[in-house]
Assembly symmetry: C2
Homo-oligomer: 380 residues x 2
């Protein structure tokens, strides 16, 4: 096993709490701050993997819950792992499946041993323990695996949040042990829980650092809370995490959320927003969000952004994109998904460059200024 | 207006009744035999125009009926025409709208003046006369326009077929007159009708040749008749058409239909089959059709065709494509549509090369032999 395949994180620049760095994984380098497009079922919805790569994505996220149910982790392992199966030879982070069990599966029962649920596909009873979550992610062959955790909606009852946080910590320790069987180079991240309670978040972070992971995620956000609560939780949690390990804010978010969190020391993000909104006709651009289905675009010959690095943003008129959505042509959703993936990656590239030159404050202020003259970004 | 922009047809080689040639249009050359992918609403469903071009398509077909209703021919004209609107700078043939009026529009009334129908989108009453059909196609800016005709289902009543054939001829003459206002270089094709009656087909062909068009289509097929009837009608009609003009068999068909018709002297085809079947999980390959949703592909690591010129046919396993369809991921339909578009274009390229070297008989026999060892092609 060469040194190249080992997981490592290198900080390249800091600017206040803000950081830029490089994560080395067996399948390549991830530049941070990094945005991970979401390939829920082993595909970024409607987008060819070559276009995902061309957008500038170094890494994508795949959902363990979906893949373990269909086509199954064992089947993907038989094909040499998820990279080969979905034809994405670059880094992949898999979640643990916990979040989707809570949000999608009917009849779930959480116990100390793990969670038992019915598959939303065929009703079959499935058990997901910390050990099985790690086993599945090893079968998928990810570069970065996540511990199994229990994620609560916000606002929530403090007692429930504390109980789930405690359970997630015990599961974290079991995941760490199970991960001893992982191939060299694969990394495991712990997940900080604790809802919107600063003391619980700090307690969770300290305990996870004691277990020692390759990186740390802030979980339990993007679950219905306000942007203000999200900022406060990130601000309280990030300083409790070691500076020399990557920090990943799960399921976040809007472009504005990303700037807020980068400012507070977060390195990694994932969200379905670019592709989901793209399919629904919302384009992210330098000029703010554009709802292409709006009638005012029907006669607009301008592209979404003539200066964009993204061919789809340059090459098609707003009128044509509007027509595709009105006519129900799936090509419209694909083109806007691509536009949005480029926008998110360009936002990250801009952040990385700004941090490297010590002017992230200016970059964030200028970007927000452009947005402020437009309507609000939608929430993730 | 330079010579390059004039419409012309040049026969390059013949092999029995079979022909290969080149159609020059204002937007480029079309090599025949030619297959035209169908962009019903100004887009090849789910496929980026760059991928349509890369498949080898010289020309595509767009549906006048759909585009005149949404976004409207006037709107497309305001954008400089359909080529610019849909970002396809290569040749475009538009149909007249007649076929879709018959098959899609509710409450249609056919009269000598033209056809009146309700829009299937909003119920608005729309009139389509021969003159309006030409006006709309000029607004769209096509390279090849089609006359308005009345297309009957088969089998049909002989009296009805004869009446529709006669009406289509009178409409042909009116379209020819209306076409005097067309820009230089644009071409107009007449459409032979007459159902499955050889005498009517010959009568229709003679009358159209008397009017004098840039090319001639065989209409009223691919409407429910058997492959045998289609072959007989083509065999009876093609020899009645001038050798120095292109012949276009409308709405056809399966790969087998295409070989049959090329053998009988047809030069051009259009069909939704490659993309529609692709969206439904049916891939056309050298090894015969493959229904990728079939469970036997779930564990098959082979690509659809490792030797294919089409990246999608080479780069993804059958197991992964199967998974995409089972999971309802639209990427699967897009990839198989692309695979099928390449297959159709490769079939045409093979035919052109075989005709050029005087061995089309061998090419057709060998291709059919490969298919015969597989199950039947589905009907268009």
């Amino acid at each position: 096993m060469s040194v190249m395949t080992e997981f490592s994180f290198r900080l390249l620049a800091t600017d206040g709490a803000t950081r830029s760095g490089e994560i080395a994984t067996p399948h390549g380098v991830v530049r941070t701050p990094a945005f991970m497009p979401v390939g829920t079922q082993g595909a970024i919805k409607g987008v060819h993997p070559d276009d995902v790569r061309a957008s500038g994505a170094d890494i994508l996220l795949a959902n363990t819950y979906h893949l373990m149910l269909r086509p199954s982790a064992e089947r993907i392992a038989a094909f040499g792992g998820l990279h080969q199966f979905m034809r994405w030879p670059h880094p992949i982070l898999t979640d643990s499946g916990g979040y989707q069990v809570m949000s999608l599966a009917p009849l779930r029962q959480v116990a100390e041993a793990g969670v038992t649920f019915r598959s939303h596909l065929d009703g079959a009873t499935v058990e997901l323990s910390p050990e099985r979550a790690i086993e599945v992610q090893i079968l998928l062959g990810c570069d970065i695996a996540m511990q199994l955790d229990e994620c609560m909606r916000l606002p929530g009852d403090r007692h429930d949040i504390e109980r789930a946080m405690g359970l997630s910590l015990r599961w974290a320790a079991r995941c760490k042990r199970a991960f001893e069987h992982a191939p060299a180079g694969m990394a495991l991240f712990g997940i900080v829980q604790g809802g919107d309670e600063q003391v619980l978040r700090e307690q969770s972070a300290r305990a996870l650092v004691g277990i020692d992971f390759h990186g740390y995620a802030i979980g339990g956000l993007a679950v219905g809370e306000t942007a203000d609560i999200m900022r406060k939780v990130v601000e309280a949690t990030a300083p409790a995490l070691p500076a020399d390990k990557p920090r990943y804010l799960m399921g976040v978010g809007t472009p504005a959320d990303l700037l807020d969190a980068i400012e507070r020391g977060v390195d990694m993000f994932d969200c379905v927003l670019p592709t989901r909104n793209g399919r629904h006709g919302l384009a992210f651009t330098r000029f703010g969000p554009i709802n292409i289905k709006n009638a005012r675009h029907a006669d607009d010959p301008r592209p979404l952004d003539a200066e964009s690095r993204c061919p789809a943003a340059r090459d098609f008129s707003r009128a044509y994109l509007h027509h595709l959505f009105k006519a129900g042509e799936a090509l419209g959703g694909t083109l806007l998904s691509v536009v949005n993936l480029y926008y998110y990656q360009d936002l990250m590239a801009g952040a990385r460059a700004a941090i490297a030159s010590g002017r992230f404050g200016d970059y964030a202020a200028q970007t927000r200024e452009e947005w402020a003259t437009k309507r609000d970004w939608p929430r993730c």
